[in-house]
Symmetry: none
Subunit: 188 residues, 4 copies
Amino acid sequence: MNKQEQIQATALRLFVADGFHGTPTAKIAAEAGVANGTLFYHYKTKEDLVVALYNRIKDEHADNLQAIISRDDFITTKFKNIFIHSVNWALNNRDKFYYIQQFNSSPHLAQVSAETLEQHTIGYAGFIAEGVKKKLLKQQPVGLIIAIFNGHVYGLYQYLTSAKFEPEEQEKIINEAYEMLWDTMKYM
Amino acid sequence: MNKQEQIQATALRLFVADGFHGTPTAKIAAEAGVANGTLFYHYKTKEDLVVALYNRIKDEHADNLQAIISRDDFITTKFKNIFIHSVNWALNNRDKFYYIQQFNSSPHLAQVSAETLEQHTIGYAGFIAEGVKKKLLKQQPVGLIIAIFNGHVYGLYQYLTSAKFEPEEQEKIINEAYEMLWDTMKYM
Amino acid sequence: MNKQEQIQATALRLFVADGFHGTPTAKIAAEAGVANGTLFYHYKTKEDLVVALYNRIKDEHADNLQAIISRDDFITTKFKNIFIHSVNWALNNRDKFYYIQQFNSSPHLAQVSAETLEQHTIGYAGFIAEGVKKKLLKQQPVGLIIAIFNGHVYGLYQYLTSAKFEPEEQEKIINEAYEMLWDTMKYM
Amino acid sequence: MNKQEQIQATALRLFVADGFHGTPTAKIAAEAGVANGTLFYHYKTKEDLVVALYNRIKDEHADNLQAIISRDDFITTKFKNIFIHSVNWALNNRDKFYYIQQFNSSPHLAQVSAETLEQHTIGYAGFIAEGVKKKLLKQQPVGLIIAIFNGHVYGLYQYLTSAKFEPEEQEKIINEAYEMLWDTMKYM
DNA sequence: TATGAATGAGGTTTCATTCAT
DNA sequence: AATGAATGAAACCTCATTCAT
């Protein structure tokens, strides 16, 4: 892990624990084991670091989804896999998921160009559009379907993290939540 | 509007625009038209102001919902009304809705006692529990239903604010989204 | 002397001794006996302080000259008095005079509007124009005469400060330098 | 142009535009097209670069004057040539001339030994002394004459750079300013 | 109840300089 | 002779908070 990665990993941990503004750059540098100036050698400003971290996580998640979308499965299978994967990714990467939420409801979001934001959902949107076109999904705008899909993931995540569930229990809940989502999404 | 209210109204506007930490107390005071010290006369600390604002908005929203719940309607009607009202409230009070999100995904949340948080959903939870018991809603934990309900509201809100819709168009979308939600929630 | 004046007086002393950039704001505050933040309460930035100091000294000097110009003397007498006064002012306020030089040959000068700069010479320029018109001074552009006048003052100042002269000796040199200047300036 | 010269040329340009302290070494290196470390390979410190640049310019100017002084002309002709040349050099090398002013009114000046400073005027001073001795110039101390001479050059320069003059107009002004200077300097 | 000058701890950022390559 | 990543001291500035009025 090079210094840039050390900085990003430490920043993620601290941002999630204390918030963007609750985390001094000096603390990030210290805990990452680099000098104060090194952080600013790699990121022009603190804001730069915040945004870079966001983009990296988004990219990482988008790449994962892309891998699922590219697989040679039925659309309905893909749809389920995307849901299951998204929820599990969120649960297994709570810091990253929380960071994305935090970032999305902060003024930092304005620093990310609409273009960049769109690219994070591009493969995804194409896939949903196909599902709508083939009348496997409800005849609603792609944007609406994605938004509700994400809301569903978010709601389920909130529930699962509000208490401690056993692995099997958790799996069962996810599957049931998927059935509920499918009731919402399926054509007819 | 007295000075306290001026301060809260200004704080809300600025917090939403620039974030909690992007908004100095001095700026709030200046734009509220009061002296620097006045803010601290009414709120012991900045954090106090942040939390007081959160609680006031939450209370306001909870009171609205309670009014709907208390009406002498069928449960299913109430359910729909709550959804419609929640979405419309969010759309008509974007600053307040955004503020709640922002607050929820920030370390400030820890300042609010679990007790206080619970009180905001108490009437609401009872109503859902009744729906489950009477087999009008899916046989799932109340917490899960509420979480998914909120996720649905949130997803729809995101969609409706991602572009400019005409009033009638918006209303139509909300109704369709409600149908989708109902598909998820209804028993059988 | 209020805090603002303490800050300006200390800043002048330190800027002259160590230069603008060689003088930390923290040092100014400390030696002025005020808190660090107090400096920034009165001057938005360090640059602000630098410019305010410049303007105050310029104003002070311009007021002095104006007093001489306003006296009911012959123009030639005024001319001599202005020269003598300027040189003596420079010698008795070395810090201020040096500060002006330092400022004039620094990028800070660009922060002062042309308008402000002009106001510092306005009474002065009118007086020279009158002398030219009445054929007491050489028939040259007012700007050129002022520039050479200032150059002469500056040159004499440099000489007088290059070594230690006795008061009478100094007075004699100033008078002789005035005669030299007058040879340059007089009509015919 | 080798790397050292690139660095000096870039440094001059940037120092004049932004001041010594307004110009980071990193910027000099970048704009000179060399690596950060290269600057420090050639100059031990930034101060070293600043002083080296000063000395190089001073030497260059002194060499020019020496060439004029060495010519087999009448003293009065030399005197005029030195003045004309000095003004023209300043006008044609505004960056260098400005740099010298800036340096002279900065704490950097203290880094240059008195000895070095003297060497820059040595030939010059001898020539003036001769003029005084031969009663071609006023019977005043050499130092005073040089100081006023320089003040005159400086004043004229200020005037000529305060506005845009046509070449012929400029030449005429310089000649008239010379006549004014000569009125000051000439014996009787 | 309200003010606003004053505070000082602490934050982000800059930048001359070093050093392994 | 040249590089550029890394450094850390120190700079400027912000801002929540206090307090005498």
